[in-house]
Symmetry: C2
Amino acid sequence: ARKDLTGLRKYLEPWLPTDLAPILVELPVEDLASIFRCAGRSLGAATFGYLPLVSQKKLLRLLSQEQAAALLNELPSDDRTAFIDSLPLDVAMQMLSLLSPEERKVAQALLAYPESSVGRMMTLDFIAVRPEWSVAEALDYIRENGYDRETLNVIYVIDEQGRLIDDVRVRRFLLAAPDRKVSDLMDGNVPHLAATDDRAHALDLFRKYDRIALPVADDGGKLIGIVTVDDILDVADAEATEDIQKLGGSEALDEPYITIALGRMVKKRASWLIVLFLGEMLTATAMTFFQGEIEKAVVLALFVPLVISSGGNAGSQAATLVIRAMALGEFTLGQWWRVMRRELAVGLALGLILGAVGFLRIAAWSMFSDVYGPHWLLVAETVGVSLVGIVLWGSLTGSMLPLILKRLGFDPATSSAPFVATLVDVTGLVIYFGVAYAFLSGVLL
Amino acid sequence: ARKDLTGLRKYLEPWLPTDLAPILVELPVEDLASIFRCAGRSLGAATFGYLPLVSQKKLLRLLSQEQAAALLNELPSDDRTAFIDSLPLDVAMQMLSLLSPEERKVAQALLAYPESSVGRMMTLDFIAVRPEWSVAEALDYIRENGYDRETLNVIYVIDEQGRLIDDVRVRRFLLAAPDRKVSDLMDGNVPHLAATDDRAHALDLFRKYDRIALPVADDGGKLIGIVTVDDILDVADAEATEDIQKLGGSEALDEPYITIALGRMVKKRASWLIVLFLGEMLTATAMTFFQGEIEKAVVLALFVPLVISSGGNAGSQAATLVIRAMALGEFTLGQWWRVMRRELAVGLALGLILGAVGFLRIAAWSMFSDVYGPHWLLVAETVGVSLVGIVLWGSLTGSMLPLILKRLGFDPATSSAPFVATLVDVTGLVIYFGVAYAFLSGVLL
């Protein structure tokens, strides 16, 4: 095997670590461990971040402590933060103890930032130059110091105190005459993040500015790290996943569905199901309240699921559309009346459509059978009219609830499809029996 | 105003168009038109792509035909494709007629690719060098030809027929000795797209390789364009939006919620609401079937919404989690049994939890009142047991339906929360009255 490894090392040599990494991750972890042992450290370090968490853990167990330490010290700081963050506290401490004093300080500083903050995902591997240098000097500096930096697509300009002055895309250095000053390339426009910013804010800035990387500055304006767009694609995926899972009526899993422990999955799903169940119990209470009406006209009970679920469906639609539009920054809270106006119009239209369908369905059935009794026309009117009200009400509730939650400082995605449906179910019953009373009082009731 | 414009032009000069664009888009369209008239064409071209569609259209109307033509000719090819694509056919044709013959050929070729294909989002502004050149020659070539290229972060290597050989990040050129050959920088690893690939496939490749740009090659291997990561972030957002909107039980809007015409929004939402309504009508049919039971024991009707909505909620959860996991590529169709095993376990656990809560709720109320009659214990048992069955059934349906839809070639996200809820409502009624019959037959029924 020794000979094989030498051959392998020779074979791997001309490849750039970041190009090799996506191919290597498809090998079994055991083979990876062999490759990591024989190949250069930088290959292992670049590959590690691409591996799923399970493989990362397994791989570290397969390496000797010395090899593991070498690997951890070599990892890009953002990948290392993400990895250590996902470990139980005791294992995380062991990992930290493997780091060199300097790297440990870096790792601890990054881990000290709040979860899902920019600090947790930033990397310290950037290149910064000074405004008074010439382009040729800057290029020499990049050539000497750039090899192990995560991105060289953007070069940062700092003053003597390390404060961020500007970011200049490397293309400008390439295109500029070598004797021009770095300050000639600057445009004075440098959107930047704070390490304590939420990652969702970083996502918004990337969406807005179409950048490849954004710098992170501390309170004093000092450049302390950068966030790169490949991590932002992960953030966009993670934020969408969180929203989607909440919209589906469960807590965000924070782990892949296919590998999360069953106990944790039950916990994340049960909590909302129980809340919804307790809410839905109000339907039983409401139904009890109308028990007398049901006894007199059982025909009313037949349409209860149909009528109230239509309100729930309309509400789910509205809530989902509004939540996604908010996540993408399509409108601000101040424009709530605009959303409400839209839902008033759309909800009314949808209600009239469903009401008509419902009325025609009951009328059609009653032409050929007497399943809905002699007063079928009144029943059909009751169902039709209450559908208009319930669908309109569902659309309004579904669209306004996310705005209200946001206003109160909660995550709008909490108003999930099932949550809105439950809320509308209860009020829908009241609307339905109210309309029934108006139409059928004196006849059936 | 003339004087102002000269001042403005002077003020804008040192700024790079792509840095200025995100700031300019916040100005009123009228001011933008003035700036576009006086500033260089490249500024207008870079800014245009950042504008929302409404402003783009308004802006073109404010410019003279000559100015509009200049702007359109100058636009990056991907931005232009996206803009023309969103216009009604007749306006699109007018726009095409404003282009120079060369640019028109480009635009028509890009527009000929299917919607949501890679061809529609690719740009032709890339830099390609030859493997036998030296690094110094390549850098000179980049300096001469690079200014108006969309990205210089990756340099492509092609042979004399224009076939793609490799992609090399520009950092390697920066870090290499000037007398080395371009071929020394190549690693032979060049993941690439076809112009007819779906944009979701491009998204997967970007997720996997963490690249800043990916090349697009035709059937003969010729390099025809590139796709950049900033457009991919838009694709990730758009794909997530589509999934979320479908999950919420409407068609994908394909336009921002806040600006889509109300008529189109009603159409997109009504279609699914009607389908769901027709499906939910089966509950009325099922209820009619059990009308006799309800007449004998009205108490059963009280819990109908509670019991069936719990199944719907569990189903929404399962469907949402499974659909998102599939979108992120967490598992393949072949692993359906693994998903099913998980949902069997989780669904049973959730069912037992809700069943217990439901049983206790009815028992507790009955301690202090006789609202549920003398046979409250049997009623509580009926509700508890049917909840176990319905929640389990909901979880299984919700998780398997997306897989079945995918297997049949449909979009899994079609099995929205409301869709699954409706499906489970009907079967839930059958389970509920079946259990009721087993427990209450001879007593209440």
